[in-house]
Amino acid sequence: MMTEPMIAGLWTDTVSFFGVHAVAVVLLKIAVVLFALLGLVSYTVLAERRISAFIQDRLGPNRVGWFGLLQPVADSFKFLLKENVMPAHVNRIYYVLAPCIALAPALLTFIVIPFGNTLAGEPMVIANLNVGVLWMFSIASLGVYGIVLGGWASNSKYPFLGGIRSSAQMISYEISMGLSLIPVFMHVGSLNLTEIVNAQSHRWLFLHPNLFLAFLIFMISSFAETNRLPFDLPESEQELVGGYHTEYGSMKFALFFLAEYANMITASALMVTLFFGGWQVPFALPESLSHPVTWLAPFVFQPVGFVYILSFFLKMLLFLGVFIWIRWTLPRFRYDQLMNLGWKVFLPMALANVFVMGIWMALSV
């Protein structure tokens, strides 16, 4: 069906449509973001272990490298070199497919996040989609298949219960998560994440009382969406051994693990972008920082672009820290409490928030 000239033709069309330069830049951005994301994932795991140790008055892994900084390298070698065991009772196709389905959406969602203003004239976002936030939601909602299929394909009761729990939990919290963001869209008038960041150049959105409530609902729902404590019912060790990944080992287990942390990073990035000004530097207007050298932009190395990326990165790290801090501080919810919180507290609260925001906007016009 797809002959060689056809593929070549498709490639030529793409290049002539967008230009060689644009295609190369996009590929470069994808490569850099992907490596940064995976690197950050492995160091978030290390941070989690060190911080949990600090909270529990232990030392944590501090033997490999300086202060344990090479521990992620050792861990990845361990995962890669371990024997790839496949239990005899599993459904082979879905058992192998599930970790891949879990990881792919976790990495795909990051492409719409603007992680900086511009660098050498290029906007620092891979895909500036007009439906940005909806794209994130639609791709993120596919991540549940990895967990559900993993639990089901393992053909064993605890993983199965974990998978079932996870699908019910993620569907429930997706609703309050999506509804909580509607006031943001009403305020900004766009779903495009770059426009949402630009709208915050003078005032970050969480300073608005309605949007602060939206932020709280969104943050707590995103804990449930990423299966983190206090909502980690799908993998609760004390009841379900390890939940959906009980039967997984070596690299296949590592993929589930990577997916969880990648989701955490994306959730932090989304919170920064939506409510905390994205790449904006606090107390400094973008005009005062970047615009004097605009006409030189394509030729000159622009440190200001890096300042924005650094600002975004630091804010994101702050939220990752909150994720870890909460995990080691709060105990786990019971399953009925989890469902009550989602359906009877957050859903009405988010709906009322939309209503109040509408009245606010009608009055302030």
Binding site: M1, M2, M6, G9, L10, Y94, L129, N130, V131, L134, W135, F137, S138, I139, S141, L142, V144, Y145, V148, L149, W152, F160, G163, I164, S167, A168, M170, I171, E174, L191
Partner: protein, 162 residues
């Protein structure tokens, strides 16, 4: 763009056929998700990005998760599924044929250009405006229908009445 149209629609038809032909419920569900993906691809080719994203969000991300949820709970083994019987097959084929004829008749008399990009903006604003002005009654009726279905399910799933 034309080539992509044929790739997407070809793969979509192939997956749709496999949804029916496959004997394993979970595999059928996964193939149906692929069908939704290729349909979203077709929407993208028509530059209806909002519809494409909603297609994935609602059907692949929510509806099919619930389908899969129910299938896994029921745990239908492929060996327990009965072999196809002639009357059911006949009924299915005749409904399919009737649908096909209807579809063909509609397409023949429609004023819509087939396969050409739409000449109107399929963004969020125009769709929202249409839903809340011209189509507000069908929209509200649909929501009432869904509510009735929801109430029905709650009633049916109650083991005993009070």
């Amino acid at each position: 763009m034309n080539l992509l149209f044929y790739i997407f629609s070809g793969l979509m038809l192939l997956c749709a056929a496999l949804v029916v032909a496959n004997r394993h419920p979970v595999t059928s569900a996964m193939l149906l998700i692929l069908v939704f993906f290729f349909m979203a691809g077709l929407f993208v080719l028509l530059e209806a990005f909002f519809l494409a994203v909603i297609q994935v969000l609602v059907y692949a991300g929510a509806v099919m998760v619930l389908f899969l949820f129910v299938m896994m709970l029921l745990d239908i083994r492929s060996s327990q599924i009965r072999r196809q019987n002639a009357p059911a097959m006949l009924a299915g084929l005749s409904v399919g044929f009737a649908f096909w004829v209807e579809f063909w008749l509609i397409l023949r008399h429609s004023a819509l250009p087939v396969g050409a990009p739409m000449n109107f903006d399929a963004g969020i604003r125009p769709i929202g405006k249409l839903l809340f002005s011209e189509f507000v009654l069908p929209f509200e009726i649909t929501s009432l229908l869904l509510l009735a279905a929801l109430v029905g399910v709650v009633l049916l799933s109650q083991k005993e009445t009070r």
